[in-house]
Symmetry: C2
Subunit: 158 residues, 2 copies
DNA sequence: GAAATTGTTGATTAAATTGGTCAACTTAGG
DNA sequence: CCTAAGTTGACCAATTTAATCAACAATTTC
């Protein structure tokens, strides 16, 4: 039941873009560095996000990627769907018709409830929620040790 | 985010045992047949269930396995924990201390909420719930096509 | 328009995980 | 002592994961 790096890296990538919303194009190189994602891997990661209409990209100098919609209009459920496919814990929940006796299977019902529980969280969380949470954490951190003026500081995935 | 066969087969195995609660030992061979699990694989599956104190086993003729506790005292959360390990979608949720800056990570919070959502379902579901759901399905099925007297019938994972 | 910069695509690959098998062994019953 | 079970450990094939590399396409800048 673990998320793959696609889901983790991809979510971080989109949060990065959301934090830079309104600032134009962000080069993949920068994202790769801040989020500690191998650049060649990130290049492949963004393909489904472009295909899914979440981001746009431009090549050449000053090129990069940016969100196509404001962060508050992008739900985590869309993101994970694009990157990981269905979050259903078993395949028979996704396409019941392919499993002839799924209507006789008691365990299937439970896995569907699990799916609904996960979906409830992802469907009610937007990139904007993540942005606010992130900024709040940075502020808290600044207060906690404001002797060194550091929030956000170099290396903090800003 | 898919469950492996360990979780799926294991849950079915325990539901099978719960359906036979009070009838003594159930041979692995029978479970393997009913649940369509390769016997040699099932043998390995039960090891963590024994170690976890969910079932007991006896070798030799008339041997087999059975639940150690009544079905209503076995929660699905225990089962999945034993078979799949933590259901947290990312490792940093399990042991935050291993991830130095997890307190600065906004995405981590969301994955923890997902974990809690999953846990809510699994923690509130017992094997007895599955048993009742299963028996109910069999009864419904009997009514739906009672021209053929079939519920439960041969091959229906009873 | 040449050169540099950046994203795109497809092939390839190493490592890990999954799902399963096989064989030797142990224990219990008759 | 023989047979019917479960136990354990080694092993293995297939798949998935997490990349990397190279060739290419588009865009900007000089």
């Amino acid at each position: 039941m673990k998320l793959s790096t696609k889901g983790r890296y991809g979510t971080r990538t989109l949060l990065d873009l959301a934090l830079h919303w309104g600032e134009g194009l962000v080069p993949l190189k920068d994202i790769a560095q801040r989020q500690e994602i191998p650049l060649p891997y990130l290049e492949h990661l963004i393909a489904p996000l472009i295909a899914g209409g979440l981001i746009r990209s431009t090549r050449g100098p000053q090129g990069g990627v940016s969100l196509l919609k404001p962060p508050e209009e992008i739900k985590l459920s869309e993101v994970i769907q694009l990157l990981e496919g269905s979050i259903a814990p078993v395949k028979c929940v996704d396409n019941p018709d392919a499993y002839p006796r799924s209507d006789l299977c008691a365990t299937r019902d439970i896995w569907d409830e699990v799916r609904k529980a996960i979906d409830g969280v992802l469907e009610s969380t937007t990139l904007q929620d993540l942005v606010e949470r992130q900024r709040q954490k940075w502020n808290l951190n600044r207060w906690q040790d404001h002797r060194k003026n550091n929030a956000p500081k170099e290396g903090d995935n800003l």
